[in-house]
């Protein structure tokens, strides 16, 4: 294949990407993104995880170490499949706090500390530089493959020259599309879409080569499996430590790599996309690695020994004479390299400009340059940073000479960025994590990584002298870079991973435990950790003495004139004011800061506003005031609740009392009408007969008869009045009791004798158990006897049996004596049982025997006065009354 054609197709491809990015940027500017904001584009853009290292290097990795290359995909798979744990929270925080980069996240979480931002930036740049160099190297190598394969003798380009061209081209593309505008949320639709396109290209390329290898070169799947079995298995061994460690490392890297953070969090359009990506991205990774093993095995089989396995993806199709396929593979590799470099340099440039260059610029020209447009400065800083990052990558490539195996550099870089993990996880899950802890952890981790992994990766004698490896730093054997503290048995990478993470976490935790966070830090900590619980904490700004005009000037410098004016106008309108100058209320300052931090990072935005507001920031006292305020509110509402419950209770009691009063009033009415009726009946007959008597001329026997009737009725009237009087005395509790010891048996005897006067014609059988009745009670014997008489008389009166009997059962139990009077009549119907103790209650008039219906009411009152009770006992096959009386009645206090 002509080499010039290759270069031409390369240019055409790049031009195509330019067009895509350009068209999308245009649509984004008109707000018509449509499907470009879909989860598909988001997922595809995540594929920058698969760099040239993956595209070419995975095959080499598989050829050298067998299945170990899979670990690089298993880590991200686990992270994405478990998105509910971490990614969801990360993306939410990123959106809520306008996070612009991973350095911004860390700095913002730990009190908008720019120191932390600088540390993370330095770390990211140091770790990314060799990685970018790696991409350049892969492009150069792939060019080299074609150049050496070119049979027509066309002059191959000098590798260094290719690297320069690629680096420059990438810088141009990135600057053009990465720094077009200073978006509020650092989103670059054009670039993201171009990367999604590249993702498709590299997947298609790898799948095409893989399919060709499996079905074109080898004889199908079964044949490939046979070849795997037949391959030299001695190299296909995996150390358990490395396997586990690499899965962890790749999981950490996918979260912490600046470019992954950029596409995953910063460029995220919609949190729902993460849900889709949770399975779609692992699926993409699986598709990418599906044919790695076959390509490696077949490549080892077919290609001459000594050929570079990193280039099998290209050399295998070329060796089989498939020029077009090789071209596709080349474009796939080219895509992998370029997309990674573009996003990585944007992410790094954002960090460098926001955390290093702009703060420095502001410090150098503080106050003096209020008029100039800061946006241009920021954009220029970004452009310079992009150029610098690429220059660094090229420089590294140039110096290292591009000799090292690709995979090793990739893992070293992974380990470098993984040092951010403790500070990040601690920051979003642990409110106790402090700035000092994070700084200590990061610096410790960075130092350990540099000493055990990064510097040794240049080879013995390159940076660290040979003696350091054999004898340790300054002669201390326990400080040898590959066996810290005497851990010699470990694989160098796992050794570095273990010690850097262990020391990092230790320093981070100890530092956090022993320091006290500042107020802004605590505020941010609460806001990050409790991001799902809505807004927390007080506003960050007290009403300062900032001039709205000064704020507007500053905002214009960062956001641009038009945006700033409309922002201020809408804020003013929200406050009910006309014009462009809202009051600098805390809420407004908060919103403005959030808006600015989307452009220049949280730390810088905070610093800029505090310059104008004067009072630097919120204080511990403010925090505590808010805390006590909310505690007061809580307490107040608790008091209100208690009072409400009390009111409800009172209302209930009042309602009950009212019901009772109404009932009593009704009872009183009924009682009055009842009593007038009872008094009237005898009075009527007395009046009638006395009238007859006064007329005279009556025979004597008639006079006698009428006189007796009058006398009887008068007696009945007297009895009624006696009963009423008695009842009234009893009810008022004013009754005089004469307490004394009395035999229960004697009282029952008396009662039976007295009651015999009632319906004396009936033959009543009384069944008693005399021994049980030999109890002496301390009570008012006359009153108790009165109750007994009443009950026995009732039985005599109302028992409707042919052979009436009355059983008297006495029991003694727990200081109380019960006396049951049970007859063998029909008893009292159930619905009347509740009524019989009421005054004037009579069940039927048929058996009326001269009583006024007060008997049982009086009994009840007497028993109450005697400290006992009388009750109807149902279910005794007859009427049964139980009298309960205390064995010893103590005189109640009057």
């Amino acid at each position: 294949m002509p080499f010039n054609l290759l270069v031409l197709s390369c240019f055409l491809y790049v031009a195509f990407l330019f067009t895509v990015a350009f068209v999308v940027e245009g649509r984004a500017a008109r707000g018509r993104l449509g499907w470009l904001r879909s989860p598909l584009v988001y997922t595809l853009s995540l594929s920058i995880y698969c760099t040239a290292w993956t595209f070419y290097g995975a095959v080499g990795y598989a050829a050298r170490s067998g299945l170990e290359f899979l670990t690089i995909y298993f880590g991200p798979t686990l992270v994405f499949v478990g998105w509910w744990w971490l990614l969801r929270k990360l993306v939410r925080i990123g959106r809520q706090h306008h996070v612009t980069s991973i350095a911004d996240l860390i700095s913002s979480r730990y009190g908008k500390s720019n120191t932390l931002g600088v540390i993370v930036t330095v770390m990211a740049v140091v770790a990314a530089t060799p990685y970018i160099a790696l991409q350049l190297q892969s492009v150069v190598l792939s060019f080299g493959v074609f150049a050496s394969a070119a049979p027509d003798g066309s002059r191959p380009l000098d590798p260094g020259q290719i690297a320069v061209w690629v680096a420059a081209g990438l810088a141009a593309f990135t600057i053009l599309f990465g720094t077009r505008n200073l978006d509020v949320r650092e989103q670059h639709h054009g670039i993201v879409t171009a990367i999604a396109v590249e993702a498709v290209v590299k997947l298609v390329a790898l799948l095409a080569v893989g399919s060709f290898v499996v079905w074109g070169v080898a004889g199908g799947v079964a044949d490939v499996i046979d070849r795997i079995e037949a391959a030299d298995l001695s190299a296909w061994q995996v150390q358990p430590g490395r396997w586990t460690g690499l899965i962890f490392l790749s999981a950490a890297a996918v979260i912490c790599l600046p470019r992954m953070f950029q596409v995953m969090v910063v460029e995220n359009e919609d949190e729902g996309h993460v849900a889709r990506a949770s399975w779609a991205f692992p699926l993409y990774l699986m598709a990418m690695s599906l044919f790695i093993v076959p390509i490696a095995v077949v490549g080892l089989d077919r290609l001459p020994s000594g050929s570079n396995p990193d280039m099998f993806v290209l050399t295998l199709p070329l060796a089989e004479g498939q020029g077009a396929l090789a071209m596709l593979a080349f474009l796939g590799g080219f895509s992998s390299a370029t997309s990674m470099v573009i996003v990585e340099s944007i992410a790094l440039a954002t960090m460098i400009s926001n955390h290093v260059m702009i703060p420095m610029w502001l410090r150098l020209r503080s106050g003096a340059a209020a008029g100039d447009d800061l946006r241009q400065v920021v954009l220029m800083a970004r452009r310079l940073a992009i150029a610098a990052v690429l220059a660094l990558g090229y420089g590294y490539y140039h110096v290292s000479g591009g000799s090292a195996a690709l995979a090793t550099i990739g893992l070293v870089a992974f380990l470098g960025v993984a040092q951010v993990l403790p500070a990040m996880l601690g920051g979003i899950f642990w409110r106790g994590a402090t700035r000092t802890g994070a700084i200590l952890g990061l610096v410790t981790g960075l130092a350990t990584w540099a000493y055990t992994s990064f510097l040794p990766s240049f080879g013995p004698g390159a940076v660290l002298p040979e003696t350091v490896f054999t004898q340790g730093l300054m002669g201390f054997a326990w400080l040898r870079p590959h066996s810290l503290f005497g851990t010699e048995a470990m694989d160098p990478l796992i050794h570095a991973l273990f010690w850097s993470m262990a020391l990092n976490i230790l320093a981070f935790c100890l530092g956090s435990l022993f320091t006290f966070p500042g107020p802004v830090e605590r505020l941010q900590g609460a806001a990050f950790v409790n991001v799902f619980e809505g807004a927390v904490g007080p506003q960050r700004w007290a009403r300062g003495r900032a001039e709205p005009e000064a704020l507007l000037v500053m905002a214009q410098r960062i956001l641009g004139e038009e945006t700033a004016l409309s922002l201020f106008q809408s804020a003013a309108r929200a406050q009910g004011k006309e014009g462009f100058l809202p009051d600098p209320t805390p809420a407004f300052l908060d919103g403005l800061e959030a808006r600015l931090s989307g452009s220049v990072g949280a730390a810088t935005a905070h610093a800029m506003i505090s310059q104008l507001v004067g009072r630097a920031t919120v204080t511990v006292e403010d925090l505590l005031a808010v805390a006590s305020e909310s505690a007061q509110i809580l307490e107040y509402s608790a008091r209100l609740e208690a009072r409400e419950a009390e009111l409800t209770r009172t209302a209930g009691a009042l309602r009950e009392a009212n019901d009772k009063l109404t009932q009593l009033s009704l009872q009183k009415d009924a009682f009055l009408s009842q009593i007038s009726h009872e008094l009237r009946t005898p009075m009527t007959s007395i009046r009638a007969f006395s009238e007859i008597l006064t007329e005279g001329d009556l025979p004597t026997e008639m006079v006698v008869r009428y006189g007796r009737i009058i006398h009887d009725e008068a007696k009945r009237l007297t009895r009624l009045l006696d009963d009423l009087l008695d009842l009234s005395v009893l009810e008022n509790g004013a009754v005089q009791l004469t307490l004394g010891l009395a035999s229960l048996q004697g009282m029952i005897d008396t009662a039976l004798t007295a009651a015999r006067q009632t319906r004396p014609e009936r033959d009543f059988q009384v069944i008693r158990d005399l021994p049980s009745e030999t109890i002496y009670l301390k009570t008012d014997a006359d009153r108790l006897t009165q109750v007994f008489i009443n009950l026995i008389s009732n039985a005599r009166k109302y028992c409707d049996s042919d052979r009436p009997e009355l059983r008297i059962v006495v029991r003694q139990r727990a200081g109380r004596v019960t006396v049951d009077f049970i007859d063998n009549g029909k008893g009292i119907p159930k619905d009347s049982q509740a009524l019989i103790f009421e005054k004037f209650a009579r069940l039927t008039d048929a058996n009326r025997a001269g009583g006024a219906g007060l008997g049982l009411a009086i009994c009840r009152e007497i028993m109450t006065n005697l400290g006992g009770s009388v009750a109807y006992v149902p279910g005794q096959r007859g009427a049964a009354f139980r009298v309960t009386v205390p064995l010893r009645l103590e005189r109640l206090a009057a």
Partner: protein
């Protein structure tokens, strides 16, 4: 500050949603277990990989993706703040 009270018991639909979240949380743990399991298959400290292992790993991988895909739609919906972080 005291958190607002949450209901102690839930209706069927929110209950299922919470259990789905539990499942989503457990999935990576299960995945890690399955991916580390082959380390125990060989008694030596270095494990040799065969084509059987390749097939095993890809099956586990595919299963994880399938489960994640099955969980994703249910998880995306109920993202309201009140029944968060049960």
């Amino acid at each position: 500050m005291r958190r607002p009270k949450r209901p102690l018991f839930l209706a069927r639909a929110p209950y299922r949603r919470r259990r789905l979240r539990d499942a989503a949380r457990l999935l990576p743990v299960l995945g890690a277990f399955l991916l580390l399991l082959p380390l125990l298959w060989t008694p030596t400290s270095r494990m040799a990989m065969t084509s059987g292992d390749v097939i095993y790993f890809f099956s586990v991988w595919l299963a994880l993706i399938a489960f994640a895909a099955a969980f994703a739609p249910g998880l995306r919906g109920g993202d309201t703040a009140d029944d968060e972080e049960d």
